[in-house]
């Protein structure tokens, strides 16, 4: 096949180029306008324009390459016909290969089912992306081939001028990579020009320029500094630490309010009621027995005994309460703490959680753990029925009860 290709290419390069072009354009066209609706999609239109543009570039490059190859073939014919033949055949192989890939992509795309991406069907999207990608690949392939041909040409010229091989090597050494250009590095071979003639214990110094990105980066940082100071301390368009703080608190408060309103979890010490649901009591137990919470001072069974010694907190299972034994009193004690050891939990527990743990504690009443701390506080008697509807009345009642019991306690103490 190779000789055949070579022959053909020798004879009719122009025709081939047209063929190749056609081949591409056909395929592209097939993929290009899939459905009329696509033209309403800005992304699709952009893709199509891009595809057409890339196609034009491919056409130009292809003709350029074929022209160059043709020229070269003619020149080479006299000396060594083998090398150019392979070059060109390789080229065609590459191109043909690309077109076949192209066709496959089209086939695959036809099978995909429709889902939308960026407003067009998934298959259309992937086809277009694939087409553009392949077009880019082809352009790269073409460029590499053109470069290769031109390079061969250049080296030929060098030979023609009868320069030595060393020269080519020198050219190679002076060629700068993108890295060298980025850093403004001079070739090492030219180092001699940069030597400042300093010699410190054998250490020489070069006079290389500053890497441009470094220098401009430095300038940018300095400009940043001025803008920063201006914004924070002259124009005050940037928030100070405290302004930032206030904004964040206001924002958070709003969010919490919205959330609680949505959830309906906004009980406080005036509206709390005893929860009896097993789920609530389990939740309360989990909070209570968390090693970092209540058990530290009140003990695992709420007996006030921690590790066989009296804990810091009182027994919570008996009838005596330091700060009142009603659910509202418990809620309040847990929420705000007291000034005698009980800490405030309102920053650690939500209102609902406090209600749960308070209810759980109430549920422990009368459990009579094996070992308990001596009673602390005043005797508290649960009221028979608490009219939940009127919270104010309940509060008054409980205060009255407390007073009464207080007197009783005082009398008891006197006895």
């Amino acid at each position: 096949m190779l000789p055949l290709l070579c022959k053909r290419s020798k004879k009719i390069p122009g025709l081939l180029s047209v063929l190749v072009l056609l081949c591409f354009s056909q395929q592209a066209w097939a993929a290009g306008p899939p459905a009329p609706s696509v033209f309403n999609n800005p992304l699709a239109v952009t893709f199509i324009v891009l595809m057409v543009l890339l196609l034009i570039i491919i056409a130009i490059l292809a003709s350029l390459l074929l022209g160059a190859a043709d020229l070269k073939l003619k020149k080479e014919k006299k000396k060594n016909p083998v090398i150019p033949a392979t070059v060109v055949s390789m080229l065609f192989f590459l191109l043909l290969n690309s077109t076949s890939l192209f066709a496959q992509a089209g086939d695959a795309a036809a099978q995909t089912t429709s889902a939308t991406i960026a407003g067009m069907s998934a298959s259309a999207f992937y086809i277009m992306v694939t087409v553009i990608f392949l077009e880019l690949l082809i352009i790269i392939a073409l460029l590499i081939n053109i470069r290769f041909l031109l390079k061969v040409e250049k080296e030929k010229n060098v030979v023609l001028i009868a320069e030595t091989v060393e020269v080519t090597e020198a050219v190679k050494r002076t060629r700068l990579s993108w890295w060298d250009k980025f850093n403004k590095l001079r070739p090492i071979s030219q180092e001699g020009d940069l030597d400042l003639g300093h010699d410190y214990d054998g250490i020489r110094e070069l006079d290389n320029r500053l890497p441009p990105w470094w220098l401009y980066g430095f300038y940018v940082c300095i400009v940043f500094a001025f803008i920063y100071m201006w914004r924070f301390h002259v124009s005050h368009t940037a928030p100070s630490s405290l302004e930032e703080f206030e904004t964040s608190i206001a924002k958070a408060d709003l969010q919490i309010k919205e959330y609680l309103e949505m959830k309906g979890d906004n009980v406080d010490e005036n509206t709390v009621t005893l929860l009896t649901d097993a789920a609530d009591l389990d939740a309360g137990k989990a909070i209570f027995t968390n090693p970092a919470n209540c058990v530290t001072c009140h003990g695992g069974d709420a007996s006030g005994i921690v590790n066989d010694n009296p804990g810091i907190g009182p027994n919570l299972t008996d009838d005596y309460w330091l700060y009142g034994g009603a659910i509202k009193d418990l809620f309040k004690t847990i929420k705000y703490g007291t000034n005698k050891g009980m800490r405030s939990w309102k920053d650690d527990l939500s209102a609902k959680q406090i209600a749960q743990v308070a209810s759980y504690i109430k549920s422990l009443h009368g459990t009579k753990p094996a070992k308990v701390k001596e009673p602390q506080g005043e005797l508290y008697k649960e009221e028979a029925t608490t009219p939940a509807a009127d919270s104010l009345k309940t509060m008054n009642d409980s205060i009255k009860t407390k007073e009464l019991l207080g007197k009783l306690g005082a009398a008891k103490a006197m006895n």
Binding site: L185, L206, C221, S241, F245, A292, S350
Partner: protein, 710 residues
Amino acid sequence: MQVEKFYYDNRIVKAFGYATVIFGIVGMLAGLWAAIQIYYPAISLNLAPVTFGRLRPLHTNAIIFAFVGNASFAGIYYSLQRLCKTRLFSDKLSWIHFWGWQLIIVGAAITLPLGLTNGAEYAELIWPIDIAIALVWIIFGINLFGTIVKRREKHLYVAIWFYIATWVTVALLHIVRSVEIPYSLTGSYSWYAGVQDALVQWWYGHNAVAFFLTTPVLGLMYYFLPKAANRPIYSYRLSIIHFWALIFIYIWAGPHHLLYTALPDWAQSLGVVFSIMLIAPSWGGMLNGLFTLRGAWDKVREDPVLKFMVVAITCYGMATFEGPMLSLKNVNAISHFTDWTIAHVHIGGLGWNGFMAFAILYYMIPKMWDTALYSKKLATNHFWLGTIGIVVYAVPMYWAGFEQSIMWKSFTPEGQLKFQFLETVTNIKPLYLLRSIGGALYLAGAFIMVYNLYKTMAKGKFIANEAAEAPPLVKEIKHKKEYWHRILERKPMTMLVLSLVLVAIGGLIEIIPTFLVKSNIPTIASVQPYSPLELQGRDIYVREGCYTCHSQMIRPFRDEVKRYGEYSKAGEFVYDHPFQWGSKRTGPDLAREGGKQTDSWHYNHLYDPTSMSPGSLMPRYIWLLDDALDTASTPAKIRAMRTLGVPYPEGYDKIANRDLVQQADSIAANLKKDKIETPPNAEIVALIAYLQRLGTDIKAEPKQTVAERK
């Protein structure tokens, strides 16, 4: 021209080299031990001298001043002689310098475990040692400049510029930071209080990193890198620009350690912008190092010295980019007080300083023993162990820092903090474990180095006095048409003065207004001096190094205000000599600890933290329960505080102990109510008094003044 023959002094280099190795190992061991204590507190064996709070300062001081310090001195004395083509100015001064410095280190190694400390990070050493440091530093300066003056090389090489800037700036930093009022032979109070002390501290602390860990080591890089690679320095003009820019800008950046604190906003902003501007000058050093290796990268594959240097310089580049990023307020809000900072400093410490120190040892020792390195293979193994060690150290710490910070800031939708402080610590325990493995790998590498260097010395023969020759310096040649900076390079004293002026500018502009302008620290009427017992308790807090894990600075963030209480105000710290804001929270902030827990809670917690907070990583402070408080020191302490302007009434020092006993008795009585029997003169009572006072002054009603209590 007649050449003169002279001898380089290798013995002093050898001595500093030995010290580097010994104290490097000691410092790293201390670090490893401290790292293990964080997740396994019992390994402190409940010994007071080696609990984390005392061990951590020992680790940092040993690494900074003993390991890197000695390595710098070794490298400076080695390179200075060769760059000046002369022997060191005075052998006698060299040896005074050497032994003086080692005595200081030994002094530190004794005093720090004993709890004798100033309570300021990297400036912990007590006042007699501070004076010794100043004296030895002056000896070093005389030797340095004496050598420069009698040089046979007309111009000063860039390495020496860095040495000069190092000397003058460290002198300035050390003197300003160490202004303190002694109240006993071993104890003193910082001259500055609260916000001002914080500013001076981080101006010092940041620039200790800059001028003790960076500039001398950059100087070493400028000598040893081109020597080892046998390549010319990439760019002379880059050297000039980055040197002057670096020393000028570096000094301003200290306040970035105090973002969102009670430090005035304008000072914080200066810290931010100068940190950002510092990227380029820092990277100038990295570029000059790495580009010098152009054309020598094949050697890097072979030569362990260059391997170490390449990673060191890369770490330097990473750390000096990360630093400015951490100085941006929005990043700092996440990273500060977490292990992120720890990761950051160890990229610098293990990577830049450690690897540079190893590199110069691997370079100098074969040279001075006139032989080749015993085993390149072992050195390469050391290199890989060290590199992997750095990665295994840093990655878990970055992770831990980020994760903990995010947990701190997590809220439930109800607006409650999602995690208790303790949960955020126990959660990262596995990462602490990993970190210590990284550190152990690094240390293992160092042991390999010790063996390798020992074998190298054994097979070579030490040249105590290395012969060299050079023509004498000819005075007064006409210099025409030269680059302006060359003139400066002939004038070491001008360079010294210029460096001093440049570094003084930044410090003065930040420090003076903070001290003089009243509006910077608004006074709060209800803030009163500590009672004598609280003052004694505070000194125990400082002694035990509580600041290494607990901050006393609530930043104005939603989560911190929720967790700890109202954010800290500048006026609250006016009687804090020294300030105790801390820089890391392995435990919670204590700025408003007062009144949060009962006396008995604190008592039990100090005796065994896990009894009150199961899973706590805090060590036990058993000795506080038995040791009696040294009340004899009270009058002297009160007098010192009065000298510093703390408004105790005239003659209060004589009756202070009466108040002290009274307060102690009331706390003991309070404890007794909770069935805790304690002698009122136990140290723990004083510490509880201090903890219960913290942050309470601005809460509720104004407290009784000392005068009223009388």
